[in-house]
C-alpha cells in the first residue's frame, strides 16, 4: 500500500460489523475498579531497594561541597551518589539547534538553578530511611547562593544575573517572523491599541505522580516508568547511559494520567537505571506530591505583548504579538520551548485574521523547568485572540458576537491556510459557533433570572472559537523525532488477533479504541482482539501518547497493517476455497469473520482455518508461500510538515479539530466570588470512534481549562524565586463542587485526508476555558469598566478591580 493513500477499512470487508461510533465497553475498567491495575508504584521485585532524591532548596546557587558521610552512616542506607559518581553517564542530548545549549546532566553538578533541582540520590532499604538520609545530605551541602531571576522582566533586564555562563543573556531562544502586510495594516488602520495578556504558571498534575523501577534481568536493563512515550524514553536512556539500545527495555505500565508532564524524559529516569546497573539489584523511586510540584514540568507561564490595528467598523487590520514564555531553568529533556511557539502559531484560531506578526521569546529563570501540558500553548493563544476580539468590540461598540460572526471560518473558505501555515482542511467553525449560541441563550436567560433579585450579583457570558492542531509534528518539540506511529498485527491459529502499538495508554481508553479498529479492519469482534501497548520489547517503535494523536496514528497504522495482512489472508483463503486455484483471489470477500466468494457464500473459510494454515498446517498454504500471518504498519500523516518554509510557516499538524466554548458566569460583587453557572461546548473532532470516550476527553479537558482560569497557580516569590506552594493546600485543583454540569454537542466533520476521517480529541477541552471565562467575567463586570487581561481570576483580583481606585484591569 502506498503511503499517499489514506488508510481506510479494506473494501473486501463487505459487511461492516460497526464497532466504530458505538459505546463499546471499556476493557481497561475491570482491573482498575477491582484495584488490580498495576501502576509503577505497585511493582515489587525481590531484593528491591528504594531511592530518594536530594533536591535543591536554593533557587540559584553554586554547590561548594557535599558531605555524604553522615548520611552513609545511617543503618539501612545502601549508597549515596552525587553527579560526580555517575561514571559513564552523558549529558542529555542537545537536539534543537535554535535553542541555547543547556548542557543538562542528570544530577546538578556544580550549580543549581531552581528549587527542586536533583543533585544527589540516596539508596536505602526502605523509603523512610532514604528520606532520613536525604535530610542529612541536604544539611551537609554547602551552597553559595547566587542572585535570582524570577520574572520575565527580571530575566530580560540589562543587568540581569545570567543563569548560564557563556550565554549573552537569559534568552533560551528567540524568533521573529516579519510580515510586511502587518506593517502596512498598522499604517492604514484607523486606530491602534496595545495591551498585555498573561497566563499563569500551572501544571498537568496527574493524580499518579511519576515513578521509576529499574532492574537488570538476564542481561537486559528493564525500566518501568510512568512515561507517555516509552520508546523515546528508551532511546534517551540508552543514549545518556551509553548502553546499547537493544539492551534496554522500557515498560510503561498502567498510568494514572499523563496530561503532558510525563512526555519528558527526566533525570530520575537516568539515575534510577544507573543505580540498578551499578548495584546490580532492583531499585525503585516513587515521586511524592511535594516533589512533583517542583520537579515535574510546569507550563503556561506566558506573557503576550499585543498591538492591534483596527478600524472604526471593528475590522481588525493587523495584530503584532510578542509571546514570551518563562520556561524556568530550562533543564529538561525535551526542552520547554515548543509550547510558546505553538502559541504563536495558534493565535488566529478559528478566525480569518490574516495579518499577524509573531515574535517568540523564551527566557530562563530560577523556576522549575516548564514543558508540556495538555493544550501545549493553544489555550494561551485562545486567551490572547478572544481578548483581542473583545477589546476591539469594546473600543468600537461593535457587538462581540457580531464581530466573531464576521471573522469565524465558513465552510466555503476551507481548506484555509492560517497565517502561521496551518492548513485547516475541514471543520464546522461557523456552524459550531451558531450552535453554541443557540444552546447558551436559554441558559443565560435562566442564569439572569436566578439572580434577578440579587443586587450583589452580576451575570456574564464569554466566547471562544478554536482550532486544535492534532497529530502534530514532534520535530519542533524535540529536534529529533517527527510524526509517525506504528502497529504490528497478528492473527493466531485460533483466529484471534493481537495488535501491538507504539502508542502508550495513559488512561484515555486507547486499548478499547484500538480493539474496535482492529475488529472493524479484520471483521472480528473487539473481544477477539488482544491489545499490547507501552512495552518496547513487545511493541514496535512509536512516538507515544501526546498531541491528540492516538486516534489518528493508531487507526492509520492498524489499517495499514490490516491491509497487508488481509492481502495474504485472502490468498490463503482463495487457495483453500478452490483447492489450489488462486484465480479467484480478487473475488474473495470477508464478512462476519468468514472469507468466501460472493456467488457462493455457503463455501467459506474462517480466520481460524486461514491462520492455522499460516502458522501450523502450512501444508495447506499455496505453494511457495511464506508461512506466518503478521504484518506491521508505520503510519506517517502525509500532509504533516516538520520544518518551516522561508516565511516561517508550516502545517504543523496532520489535521485540525475545532470547537466553540461559551461560559456563563456569575460574580458576587461584595466577595469577588466567581461561579461558573453553565459551560457550553460544541466539539468537532471529525468522525468519533467512540463517542463516550470523546466526551470523557472533553469533560476532563474543560475541567483543566476552568482550573487554569480560576484556581491553579504555581506562585513564586518574585524577590527570591522561592516556590510558594508545597501541597494541594496552595495548588488548588478543582473538585466536583467547582466544576458545573457541562452542556455538550458534537459535529462530525470528517477529516478528508485522515484514516477513517478521524481528528484528535485529547486537548480541545482545555483550549477554550481561559478565553471564554475571562470574556464572561469581563462581560459581567462591564458596567464597572473591568476588562480581564490575566488568569487566574480570583476573588482577590476581582475585588481589586472593583475598588474605586482600581485601574479597571483585573490582572
Amino acid at each position: 500500500m502506498a503511503v499517499e493513500e489514506i488508510p481506510q477499512i479494506s473494501p473486501i470487508i463487505r459487511h461492516r460489523t460497526s464497532h466504530l461510533g458505538r459505546a463499546v465497553p471499556r476493557r481497561e475498567d475491570r482491573s482498575a475498579l477491582l484495584g488490580q491495575s498495576q501502576y509503577v508504584a505497585d511493582i515489587r521485585l525481590p531484593g528491591m531497594v528504594e531511592v530518594a532524591f536530594v533536591r535543591s532548596g536554593e533557587p540559584h546557587a553554586l554547590i561548594r561541597s557535599i558531605d555524604t558521610s553522615p548520611a552513609e552512616q545511617i543503618e539501612g542506607v545502601v549508597k549515596v551518589v552525587t553527579a560526580h559518581d555517575l561514571d559513564g553517564v552523558e549529558q542529555f542530548p542537545h537536539f534543537i539547534e535554535y535553542n541555547q545549549p543547556v548542557d543538562q546532566f542528570p544530577l546538578a553538578r556544580d550549580r543549581v538553578r531552581y528549587v527542586g533541582s536533583p543533585y544527589a540520590a540516596v539508596v536505602a532499604m526502605d523509603r523512610y530511611v532514604a528520606e532520613d538520609a536525604v535530610n542529612l545530605v541536604a544539611a551537609a551541602t554547602d551552597f553559595e547562593p547566587l542572585p535570582t531571576v524570577t520574572t520575565i522582566d527580571q530575566a530580560l533586564a540589562e543587568d540581569a544575573p545570567l543563569l548560564y555562563e557563556g550565554w549573552p543573556d537569559n534568552r533560551l531562544t528567540t524568533a521573529l517572523i516579519e510580515n510586511p502586510a502587518v506593517d502596512r495594516a498598522f499604517e492604514e488602520a484607523d486606530h491602534t491599541f496595545s495591551e498585555t495578556y498573561t497566563s499563569q504558571r500551572q501544571t498537568g498534575l496527574p493524580i499518579e505522580t511519576r515513578g521509576v523501577v529499574a532492574a537488570l534481568r538476564e542481561g537486559q536493563l528493564t525500566v518501568w516508568t510512568s512515561n507517555q512515550s516509552p520508546h523515546i524514553a528508551r532511546t534517551t536512556i540508552a543514549l545518556v547511559l551509553g548502553v546499547p539500545e537493544p539492551e534496554v527495555r522500557v515498560i510503561a505500565p498502567a498510568m494514572g494520567g499523563g496530561f503532558g508532564p510525563k512526555c519528558h524524559v527526566y533525570p530520575e529516569e537516568i539515575v534510577v537505571p544507573w543505580l540498578a546497573m551499578t548495584l546490580n539489584r532492583p531499585v525503585r523511586w516513587v515521586e511524592d506530591r511535594a516533589e512533583h510540584l517542583v520537579s515535574s514540568v510546569h507550563a503556561r507561564d506566558q506573557r503576550h505583548d499585543v498591538e492591534i490595528a483596527y478600524d472604526d467598523d471593528g475590522t481588525i487590520r493587523g495584530i503584532r504579538v510578542h509571546s514570551i514564555g518563562n520556561v524556568g531553568s530550562g533543564e529538561i529533556f525535551m526542552p520547554g520551548t515548543a509550547p510558546t511557539f505553538v502559541t504563536g502559531g495558534s493565535i488566529s484560531g478559528a478566525y480569518e485574521l490574516p495579518n499577524i506578526e509573531i515574535q517568540t521569546t523564551c527566557v530562563v529563570t530560577n523556576k522549575t523547568p516548564s514543558g508540556a501540558y495538555r493544550g501545549f500553548g493553544i489555550p494561551e493563544a485562545a486567551l490572547v485572540r478572544e481578548r483581542i476580539i473583545d477589546r476591539v468590540a469594546l473600543l468600537t461598540g461593535v457587538d462581540r458576537v457580531e464581530l466573531r460572526r464576521r471573522l469565524v471560518l465558513r465552510e466555503d473558505q476551507l481548506p484555509f491556510r492560517m497565517p502561521a501555515g496551518g492548513i485547516v482542511d475541514s471543520g464546522s467553525h461557523a456552524r459550531s459557533f451558531e450552535r453554541g449560541l443557540e444552546m447558551a441563550e436559554p441558559l443565560l436567560t435562566d442564569a439572569r433570572e436566578r439572580y434577578a433579585d440579587d443586587p450583589d450579583v452580576r451575570v456574564g457570558i464569554g466566547y471562544a472559537n478554536y482550532v486544535e492542531p492534532t497529530a502534530p509534528t514532534y520535530h519542533l518539540t524535540t529536534g529529533f523525532w517527527a510524526g509517525y506511529d506504528s502497529a504490528t498485527l497478528r492473527v493466531d491459529g485460533d483466529g484471534k488477533a493481537r495488535v501491538s502499538l507504539g502508542l502508550a495508554a495513559i488512561g484515555q481508553g486507547a486499548e478499547t479504541t484500538a480493539a474496535s479498529v482492529v475488529a472493524e479492519a479484520l471483521s472480528l469482534q473487539p473481544s477477539d482482539v488482544t491489545v499490547v501497548m507501552g512495552d518496547t520489547e513487545r511493541s514496535p517503535y512509536g512516538l507515544g501518547a501526546w498531541g491528540s494523536r492516538g486516534a489518528i496514528v493508531m487507526s492509520g497504522s492498524i489499517l495499514m497493517a490490516a491491509d497487508r495482512l488481509l492481502e495474504k489472508a485472502r490468498r490463503i483463503a482463495a487457495h483453500m476455497l478452490e483447492a489450489g486455484d488462486e484465480d479467484i483471489v480478487q473475488d474473495v470477500v470477508l464478512r462476519d469473520g468468514f472469507f468466501f466468494v460472493e456467488e457462493d457464500p455457503d463455501q467459506r473459510v474462517g480466520w481460524p482455518e486461514v491462520a492455522t494454515a499460516a502458522w501450523a498446517r502450512t501444508v495447506d498454504l499455496p505453494e511457495g508461500m511464506e508461512p506466518g500471518l503478521e504484518s506491521s504498519g508505520y503510519y506517517d500523516p502525509s500532509d504533516l510538515e516538520h520544518t518551516a518554509d522561508e516565511a516561517g510557516r508550516l502545517n504543523a499538524a496532520a489535521t485540525w479539530a475545532n470547537g466553540t466554548h461559551i461560559a456563563i458566569v456569575s460574580v458576587r460583587l461584595s466577595t469577588g466570588e466567581i461561579k461558573i453557572e453553565d459551560y457550553v461546548v460544541v466539539h468537532d473532532c471529525g468522525r468519533m470512534l467512540h463517542p463516550g470516550l470523546v466526551e470523557g476527553q472533553v469533560h476532563g479537558g474543560v475541567a483543566q481549562g476552568i482550573a487554569g482560569s480560576l484556581y491553579e497557580h504555581l506562585q513564586y516569590d518574585s524577590d527570591t524565586a522561592r516556590p510558594q506552594f508545597a501541597s494541594f493546600l496552595e495548588y488548588l485543583v478543582p473538585t466536583c463542587a467547582e466544576i458545573p454540569k457541562l452542556t455538550l454537542d458534537h459535529f462530525e466533520s470528517y477529516a478528508p485526508h485522515m484514516p477513517l476521517g478521524v481528528k484528535g480529541a485529547g486537548e480541545g477541552g482545555t483550549i477554550g476555558g481561559p478565553a471564554a471565562i475571562t470574556g464572561a467575567v469581563s462581560d459581567a463586570l462591564a458596567e464597572f469598566g473591568v476588562f480581564v487581561t490575566a488568569t487566574p481570576i480570583t476573588p482577590v483580583t476581582i475585588r481589586a478591580a472593583l475598588r474605586p481606585t482600581g485601574s479597571g484591569e483585573a490582572s
Binding site: D29, L33, Q36, S37, A41, R289, S727, L729
Partner: protein, 173 residues
C-alpha cells in the same frame, strides 16, 4: 500494643489489624503510614497514594466503618481495627453495583483516583443525603484529573436514585 522506645525512627511496635477479613499480626516501625502498611505489608496495592497529605482522597479506606485517609494515619493507630479496601468491594469476582455503575457510565479513565471514590461511597448510606449538593460535599474530598467529575456524579446518581426512590431521583447528575 507493646510499648517501646518511640523516640527512635527505628522503634518497632506490634499491631494486629484485620484487612478485608484477613488478620495481620506484624511488628512495624512506629512511623509507618497506614497506606504503606496496606500496600507494602499486606500487599494490597489497589489503595493508591496521590498526595501523602490527606487532600486528594485516592488512599481512602474504611476503618471500623468510617472512610479514612490511609496516608494520614499511622499503622499503629489502627491496632485492633477492621479495615476494608477496594479489593473487598467485589462479590464472587463480580463488580458491586457502584463499580458496575462506574463502568457503565464511563466514570473512570486512568482509574488511579477511583478506589478512593468507591470507598468513600461505600462508607455512607445514601438515605443520609438530601440532594446533589450533599453528594458534591461528600465527593469534594476527592480529586479526579480525568473526568471533570461529570460521569462520576452520573454514576453515583444512578445507583443512589435507584436505591432510594426507584421512580424519582433527588440526585440530579
Amino acid at each position: 500494643m507493646e510499648r517501646q522506645d518511640h523516640d527512635s525512627p527505628s522503634a518497632q511496635v506490634d499491631i494486629e489489624v484485620t484487612i478485608n477479613g484477613e488478620r495481620f499480626r506484624n511488628r512495624v516501625p512506629a512511623r509507618l503510614l497506614l497506606s504503606d502498611f496496606i500496600r507494602d505489608v499486606a500487599g494490597l496495592t489497589g489503595t493508591h497514594v496521590g498526595c501523602e497529605h490527606g487532600v486528594c482522597g485516592a488512599c481512602t479506606v474504611i476503618v471500623d466503618g468510617d472512610a479514612a485517609r490511609s496516608c494520614s494515619l499511622l499503622a499503629v493507630q489502627v491496632d485492633g481495627c477492621t479495615i476494608r479496601t477496594v479489593e473487598d468491594l467485589a462479590t464472587d469476582g463480580g463488580l458491586c453495583p457502584m463499580q458496575q455503575a462506574f463502568h457503565e457510565n464511563l466514570a473512570l479513565q486512568c482509574g488511579f483516583c477511583t478506589p478512593g471514590f468507591l470507598m468513600t461511597l461505600e462508607s455512607v448510606d445514601p438515605q443520609d443525603f438530601a440532594d446533589a449538593d450533599d453528594l458534591f460535599a461528600l465527593l469534594s474530598g476527592h480529586l479526579c484529573r480525568c473526568t471533570g467529575y461529570q460521569n462520576i456524579i452520573k454514576a453515583v446518581a444512578s445507583v443512589w436514585n435507584e436505591a432510594i426512590e426507584p421512580h424519582g431521583g433527588r440526585f440530579q447528575s
